[in-house]
């Protein structure tokens, strides 16, 4: 039987898949998982899971779409290039807004 092994390095971390072990049963799998993935490496906890118990959704499965079919890259913050020139533009726009604000205040005061 194949057991997939997930290791958590520290209490706050997620369990991350690190490989698998062959073992006849749960107890041996736990032991081998420790030997192979925790005895000489930093680890706080291991999840040892029978491979067949893992429910998988594969992108090749019929009717499954993953990653989005229409173009939605504009939603990704990484697509926005925020270099120095950008910063200048933002600053200019900020100044513009401040001026407009002051203008409104003055207009109100004159009323």
């Amino acid at each position: 039987m194949i057991f997939e092994v997930f290791r958590q390095e520290q209490r706050k971390d997620y369990h991350v898949h690190v490989g698998n072990v062959h073992a006849p049963d749960r107890e041996m799998a736990r032991m081998y998982a420790q030997v192979m993935h925790a005895r000489r490496k930093p680890a706080h906890s291991l999840w040892v899971v029978p491979k067949e118990e893992i429910a998988e959704v594969d992108s090749d499965d019929e009717g499954v779409s993953m990653g989005g079919l229409t173009q939605k890259e504009y939603r990704w913050a990484t697509n926005y290039n925020t270099d120095e020139t950008f910063a200048e533009e933002i600053e200019a726009s900020q100044r513009e807004q401040e001026e407009a604000e002051r203008g409104r205040e003055e207009a109100e005061a004159n009323d």
Partner: protein
């Protein structure tokens, strides 16, 4: 009844020092030789996982051997004298450690490590009370790894004994290895001093009783029989290792172990790791 604490290595009387040395040779040689035997299984284990597990245990035992050989270096010995240039008959390990494996007989490896690790566990437990501070400092480290070794052997024994064929193999290994396993509890020439000075306050004879009870009860539960208690004294292998007498397997293992050192005309041992006192 606790004995007085012994001093630093340089402050020991001749009697104290000889007893400490005798115990350390026994401990270090056991670990070193059994670890080397386990490595015979490297790339030969029944599964990749089993292979890695036994290699891991071998690595642990080599680490323990280093801890004990290092304490012998307190008395001025060099690693070359302690291992590579020492005569084969100067080694004091129990002859259980040196027995070669019948090709492919995994039950032998499992039974041997079970016998060895229960004995080591009891020995280490007894050493927790040692009067020699240098040993006391290192016991916890050794103990921390021993639990896994016993668990490994017990897990395997339980599974091998699930059917008749496996049980037969385990029984055969028990019958073959028992006389040699008993040599783990054979005294060195300094046993009385070791106990009286509190270096290991529990006599080996008593450890053997505890070992007999523990291993006997566990194996019995698996349907494997062990010799009667009354028969043990007569059953001990003729070559005990503790007095320098060894089986032919040891000479072969020794030749192989020291082969590279001799072939390359070495006169010193390369230090690959920091001194245990510095980590």
């Amino acid at each position: 009844m606790a004995s007085a604490r012994l001093g630093a290595p340089g402050d020991l009387s001749e009697r104290e020092r000889e007893a400490v040395e005798a115990l350390l040779y026994q401990l270090a040689d056991d670990e070193f030789v059994v670890a080397d035997r386990y490595t015979d299984w490297q790339c030969q284990g029944p599964t990749l996982e089993a292979d890695i597990a036994i290699a891991n245990i071998a690595q642990d035992e080599l680490g323990h051997a280093r801890l004990w050989y290092d304490l012998l270096q307190d008395f001025g010995y060099e690693e070359t004298e302690l291992i590579w240039e020492r005569e084969a008959e100067e080694f004091r390990h129990a002859t259980l450690c040196e027995q070669s494996f019948e090709s492919g007989d995994w039950a032998d490896a499992v039974v041997r490590s079970y016998f060895y690790d229960v004995a080591e566990f009891l020995q280490v437990e007894a050493l927790a009370e040692t009067s020699y501070p240098r040993i006391a400092d290192r016991i916890e480290k050794v103990n921390g790894e021993e639990h896994y070794h016993r668990e490994h052997a017990q897990n395997w024994l339980e599974r091998l004994c699930e059917d008749a064929e496996g049980t037969r193999r385990v029984q055969a290994a028990v019958d073959d290895l028992y006389p040699y396993a008993l040599t783990l509890f054979e005294p060195t020439a300094k046993e009385d001093d070791i106990v009286e000075l509190g270096i290991r306050p529990t006599p080996l004879a008593q450890l053997r009783e505890e070992w007999y009870d523990l291993t006997g009860a566990f194996l019995d539960g698996l349907g494997v029989s062990v010799p009667d208690r009354e028969a043990l004294d007569d059953l001990v292998a003729e070559e005990t290792g503790r007095d320098g007498s060894h089986t032919d397997d040891w000479q072969r293992q020794y030749n192989e172990l020291t082969y590279t050192y001799r072939m390359l005309d070495r006169t010193e041992a390369r230090r690959l790791m920091a001194d245990p006192d510095e980590v």
